[in-house]
Symmetry: C2
Subunit: 354 residues, 2 copies
């Protein structure tokens, strides 16, 4: 009897996963079909017009983890949303399109030349400008193109989200303005070399906890007509988002750019007061001294962090955060299969290697 | 009898103008109230968070011609829209907010340091960075802030337009993607020093005819439930938009930055293949040689244009375009008072001095 029960659970879990993967694939197809229709539209207008759409299509086609669509779809299915309804597919596509916009602009702001294992939009266009010896400055040209391609992606994300139920509008609005303001705060805090772990934590919550996990889940639950799930998803998202961001910081600090598809050590080089540094300096005075004294090279920061045993400590902390995330949804009225799936997803984003 | 008739017409015109001005004032109040509510919201979150909203509020408060809201409201009232309905006020505010976003990003792309008589967002923040000797590069910081503040304005423009009737969504979508792609084409054509008057005309249509006049009018008419007016408004907008852009080019080439609130001669300095140059080179071989030979200073281009009598010719052409615009709405089924008002608006944007 127990064995049958376990067998059924496994079958249900496998079915839930297949449904989610199927919806993710439909999101992927929808993104490509949307961009392909835009390409065709602008190709009919002028040869030169399609360049902006092509640059965006290339970034989307280069892959990425699709974490925000995955959480949106999981939130929707956990809230018992109808898998046949196309609304969640376009909502998830809108989140990924917004993310493309954020990445393109973020790479300009961070002067980062690699994304998803390829040159960033601005780096590619600056190189093109230099190669052809066009008029003006290559840097300004590349960055200008990236600003406009990112703007176009932001507009497209709106167009996609317009097909979602009206219930998701408030969370969608908050998600976007919070993203822009979180990025703004991240940038100004780094420039001013602002050593404030509470601020680092707030920025990480805005940029990761809310943007990547909590609000995509709530968009999904809202599309399924279950706004009651929002508080539990918020707690889950904050904990798992913190784990996600700490992992991001670890990968930036100690990871291999061949795995992540972006340059390593960028946060240190840009004096980013990351969640990792904020967390570490509260636990170890030597890190506090390291952080508050400017002028250290990325390699120095990396070595000192290793010396103090921070990476091992933070691994343990990430594990605790995943546990907290799972506890946050322990009593929420959703199918146990989806409770399990959300737990598995928390572990996946927290312990990812890319 | 005739005098009474004229008297009534004048009264009706004055009433129409007051209604339009009243709606424009409500648009202004709505913009400010919206930004003020956002300021309050983010001030409650973190002191540092409000900087992005403040930068945007300052630009909006610095004035501007409000041409797009004015055409939106005129299109709405010409289409017999109810002046008491708040939908047109938020739609007009959305157009102005989108324009704020476009200006902020455009000034980064053009490396322009003055807008509405004040430092541009990026110039202001670069100077702030330099003054405080913050971490990193001042240029990147200023431009990064401007990218994010422009993104925030783009998001806000969406939030504002969400209150408009669903009928305006298609034209709103086209207006935005066309703006981004028009800007992209403008930039790449300038970099590649692409001498193609037909292309210059297409870019001017996208950036001015459609963005500034035609589509704002159609947004207004759509909000009033009169999509049938779109074809006449398109013809009107294309002609008046061309006049508007030629005036813009003349002001950039020969105007005084104390009047326009932005630097003079920027188009020549950036090798922009403007509508003015495209138009002039088709009429005069000497301009063709001037345009196709790179290396001329802005002053040289300016002097040669004056020598060939282009400014006088283009003034006449602008007059013809205004006439074409008026003809396009001569038979359209709208109140004659509004036909007259649209004619007056065409003349105002075509013969403006700032």
């Amino acid at each position: 009897m127990e064995m049958t029960c376990i067998g059924t659970d496994q079958e249900l879990t496998a079915l839930a996963r297949r449904t989610r993967e199927d919806l993710l694939q439909r999101m992927e197809d929808h993104l490509r079909a949307f961009l392909s229709a835009e390409h065709e539209l602008w190709a009919g207008v002028n040869d030169r017009a399609v360049g902006a759409v092509t640059a965006l299509t290339d970034l989307v086609a280069a892959g990425g983890k699709r974490i925000r669509p995955a959480f949106c779809i999981a939130g929707y299915l956990a809230a018992d949303g109808d898998p046949g309804d196309p609304a969640v597919v376009t909502a998830a596509a809108a989140l990924e399109m917004l993310h493309a916009s954020a990445l393109i602009h973020d790479d300009v702001i961070d002067a980062s030349d690699q994304r998803r294992g390829r040159p960033t939009v601005h780096a590619h266009h600056s190189a093109l400008h230099a190669r052809h010896a066009w008029q003006g400055e290559a840097r300004r040209f590349g960055e200008g193109v990236a600003v406009l391609v990112g703007d176009l992606a932001l507009v497209y994300s709106e167009q996609l989200m317009a097909a979602a139920p009206a219930a998701v509008v408030p969370v969608w609005n908050t998600l976007r303005s919070e993203l822009m303001i979180g990025q703004y705060m991240d940038m100004t805090a780094a420039a001013e070399f602002c050593v404030d772990p509470a601020l680092s934590r707030w920025i990480a919550l805005a940029k990761s906890g809310h943007y990547t996990i909590h609000r995509p889940l709530v968009v999904g639950a809202g599309a399924a007509g279950r706004p009651d799930l929002a508080p539990a998803f918020e707690k889950y998202g904050e904990a798992v988002g913190e784990a996600f961001q700490l992992r991001d910081d670890l990968l930036d600090a100690f990871g291999d750019s061949a795995d992540t598809g972006k340059p390593a050590g960028l946060d240190f080089a840009q004096h980013k007061m990351t969640l990792l540094l904020g967390w570490a300096m509260q636990r170890d005075d030597r890190i506090h001294d390291l952080v508050t004294t400017p002028g250290h090279t990325p390699d120095e920061v990396r070595r000192r962090l290793l010396d103090t045993g921070v990476p091992d400590d933070v691994e343990k902390h990430i594990g605790d955060l995943v546990e907290q995330g799972c506890e946050a949804i322990a009593d929420v009225p959703i199918d146990p299969v989806w409770r399990g799936e959300l737990a598995a997803m928390a572990a996946r984003v927290a312990f990812r290697t890319t």
